[in-house]
């Protein structure tokens, strides 16, 4: 040891420094390992990371304005919207030139739909103008301002020009602001009018209901998992099948079954009325509200809680409990001080699974949630497939993803992610 410090770096057999030789061997190993997972990495990158990244980027992308009417955007940059006066003739001139090209490519109506998200009426403004501007001769020298005003009153509305100016940069914060019930007003960012606020409320509701569902799953799942782990093998197997059977049944079938059970003329109400516990005219309302969503989703997600719990509990030796009792612990103390702490990793794993699944759940809340039991994911689905406002959907999705990441981080800090076991 003292020799080595005296004579410089330790050398390997071939004379190179040992450090270098070691790191080369390690690098070789790492490359080999990387080659082994390369197909998977490539697959994940291609089918998961890139498409999702592209989708998330839509939440800030706004090139459609500057690409469709580039000349107008340049001219409009110098217009001062606070004066309350219409833009100059040069802007209208640029717009006429831009529109003729856009109409040829059929992109003017696409721009109209984009701007219509910000202000009602933009859609028809562009569609109707398109039909006439198409036939204009750009060189006959008539003032374009008046011609545009003849085509549609909307071109004489300062507010419309403000919208075009506000949304002309290639990137916008507009979708994100909208996703948290805010908008770009005259004096910067302001809260939307109360009758248009919805998303913050839905985010809160989604989190709250996901927590309720996770807690109900723990409450219901823990005893079942305990039974599964501690019953004799034959009976445990039967119980296991009962747990797995609904797991293999179609999601839609299970959700619809809850509809049959919970509705006012449904099975549960019929039984309660027959037993005389509930008057026929006061049947309980158990569906199309939060209650319905919580019940149906707890049922659907229960196996995701039971299975990790079970696999962890299976590894806890029975003898620990007996040992605790033999040393004088009561049943409760033995469970709470000895058994429960060892089962926590199972609860952790189950809770993360159930919580993250439920936060993005869509179909069950849609069917049984009514108006008070729907999640933010229902709005995202609406904007993707119905309103086609993909930018807003992407912004909502990005926020949801960020919330999940933050919660995961918090979980790691508080409980520790090492403390999660899916078995073994």
């Amino acid at each position: 040891m003292s020799d080595a410090t005296d004579t410089g770096p330790v050398l390997a057999a071939d004379g190179t420094p040992l450090k270098k030789s070691l790191s080369r061997a390690l690098r070789l190993q790492k490359t080999r390992a990387l080659m082994l997972i390369a197909p998977l990495l490539f697959f994940v990158l291609l089918t998961f990371v890139i498409p999702i990244g592209d989708m998330l980027l839509r939440s800030v992308k706004n090139q459609v304005v500057s690409e469709t009417i580039p000349l107008t955007v340049v001219e409009l940059a110098s217009w001062d919207s606070t004066t309350g006066e219409l833009p100059s003739e040069a802007v209208y001139n640029a717009l006429a030139r831009d529109l003729q090209i856009a109409i040829e490519n059929k992109t003017h109506t696409r721009l109209g739909s984009r701007l219509n998200y910000e202000k009602s009426g933009m859609s028809s403004l562009f569609r109707r103008s398109g039909r006439q501007v198409k036939r204009w001769d750009l060189d006959d020298g008539e003032p374009f301002k008046e011609r545009f005003l003849d085509v549609h009153d909307g071109w004489g509305d300062v507010d419309n020009w403000k919208v075009i100016q506000t949304y002309s940069p290639p990137y916008t914060s507009g979708y994100f602001l909208n996703a948290v019930d805010r908008e770009i007003g005259n004096d910067g960012v302001e809260v939307r009018p109360e009758n248009e606020q919805i998303y913050v409320k839905l985010f809160k509701r989604t989190l709250f209901m996901s927590i309720v569902i996770t807690v109900s799953c723990i409450m219901l799942g823990y005893p079942v998992a305990w039974l599964l782990a501690n019953l004799p093998a034959r009976r445990a197997n039967i119980l296991m099948i009962l747990v797995l059977l609904p797991f293999w049944t179609s999601l839609l079938v299970r959700t619809s079954a809850w509809k049959v059970m919970l509705q006012q003329q449904g099975v549960i109400n019929d039984v309660l009325v027959w037993l005389g516990l509930v008057a026929d005219e006061n049947r309980l309302i158990m569906i199309n509200n939060q209650f319905g969503t919580i019940v149906a989703m707890t049922h659907i997600l229960l196996p995701f809680m039971i299975l990790p719990m079970y696999s962890v509990m299976q590894t806890i030796p029975e003898t620990y409990l007996r040992a605790a009792k033999s040393m004088g612990a009561t049943n409760w103390t033995a469970f709470w001080r000895v058994y429960f702490p060892q089962s926590v990793p199972g609860i952790g794993a189950g809770s993360i699974l159930v919580f993250i699944l439920s936060i993005g759940y869509y179909i069950t809340p849609e069917i049984v949630g009514g108006t008070t039991g729907t999640f933010i994911s229902n709005r995202i689905a609406f904007h993707i497939s119905s309103s086609l406002n993909w930018g807003l959907a992407a912004a909502l999705g990005t926020i949801l993803l960020a919330v999940v990441m933050i919660l995961y981080w918090a979980y790691d800090k508080i409980v520790g992610i090492d403390n999660v076991k899916l078995g073994g």
Partner: protein, 367 residues
């Protein structure tokens, strides 16, 4: 003898199939529609005869509900896998606006009526977009349980807002369209002023306030099958849905349900051809459209489902239901007895105000 028959049959097939299966048309096509009884009616009336005539293989895809979103995604990916798509008119207008649908010239690309009337005249005002080929007129209207309304069955759409005379739940669609119009109509706004009122923030508030009077009594639906199911279960006393769905509850399933045609809202459903198809596929799609929207084919579809054909010349040809054997004319939304008080979906208005009003409506629903 046998050989002769075979030869005859082969040459007959060759005669029919020969010209259509020429090299410049694709021999397989994917047709997108809504599924269920509706797709079935199209299969019987359009796809089967077309396939028999031409030898084309028709692949059915039931994605119409997400057609606009999917077409947009296909267009961005540069790989359009659909040839003909069945969409509601409002979606056709959006697809046309976004440049995702092919523009059609009705007079050269659609069949004229048997008496020689041009297609543009035969379809008339129903050609609401340059890309849209109308197929049926359907309506969104109310059905009610005959056993739950006592001795005075409702005759006006405003019965929906009258929870004293007709206690019980009602079902309405979970979106602003139609509900806002009915609310204003029943709040005393004159029919021809409804859209002027609805364009103002005050008018939108007024409509939501009127809907607010029954908010606790409403089950909100998002699939067309919900209301028929809720009616059959006795969960609701009345509810809105598409008239064809109510027809099947009443006539096919014999449930104690009746139609309330008052203030029904007409809407159109029809075909579009996606933009950007290869020339062979586009030629095939156009050939199919020419066949499937001619006068006789549109009338044939009404044998299987109670939606009115979009051509004026098809109306007199509407006959009896193929299986039930009942006259279909009185079940058509366009029948004079049913069409005494009607709306037509105001496409232009909703294209402009949908984003704004829908945001307010959904916010109102969630609170």
């Amino acid at each position: 003898m046998k050989l002769k028959n075979t030869v005859l049959a082969v040459s007959a097939i060759a005669l029919v199939a020969g010209p259509a299966l020429s090299a410049d048309m694709a021999d397989e096509m994917t047709i997108v529609s809504w599924g269920g009884a509706y797709s079935n009616s199209q299969n019987k009336a359009y796809h089967e005869p077309y396939a028999a005539n031409t030898g084309v293989t028709v692949v059915n895809d039931e994605s119409s509900a997400e057609a606009v979103a999917k077409l947009r995604a296909m267009n961005e990916a540069g790989n359009i896998t659909w040839d003909v798509v069945d969409v509601v008119a409002a979606d056709a207008i959006r697809l046309c606006d976004e440049g995702l649908a092919l523009e059609i010239d009705p007079d050269t690309q659609l069949a004229p009526a048997p008496d020689g009337t041009s297609a543009s005249e035969d379809f008339g005002d129903l050609l609401v977009s340059d890309c849209f080929i109308p197929q049926i007129v359907y309506s969104t209207t109310f059905g009610y349980r005959t056993d739950l309304v006592g001795d005075t069955p409702p005759t006006s759409v405003c019965a929906v807002f009258d929870t004293e005379a007709y206690p019980g739940k009602r079902s309405l669609e979970k979106r602003a369209l139609n509900n806002m119009e009915w609310a204003l109509l029943c709040d005393g706004v004159a029919k021809d002023e409804i859209y002027d009122v609805l364009a103002t923030p005050e008018g939108q508030e007024q409509a939501l306030a009127k809907l607010g009077t029954i908010k606790d009594d409403v089950v909100w639906w998002s699939a067309g099958a919900d209301t028929p199911q809720l009616l059959a279960d006795g969960e609701i006393v009345m509810g809105s849905t598409y008239n064809g769905r109510l027809f099947s509850v009443i006539e096919e399933q014999k449930q104690p349900v009746a139609m309330l045609w008052d203030a029904q809202v007409f809407d159109l459903d029809g075909w579009i051809i996606p933009a950007g198809l290869s020339p062979e596929r586009e030629a095939r799609a156009l050939d199919y459209i020419m066949f499937a929207t001619d006068t006789q084919r549109l009338a044939d579809q009404a044998k299987y489902i109670s939606y009115g054909p979009a051509r004026a010349s098809s109306a007199p040809l509407v006959g009896q239901h193929a299986e039930l054997g009942i006259d279909m004319a009185p079940h058509m939304p366009t029948d004079p007895n049913n069409a005494q008080n009607t709306f037509l979906n105001n496409y232009e208005f909703w294209a402009d105000y949908r984003d704004d009003i829908e945001a307010k409506f959904q916010s109102w629903l969630a609170n």
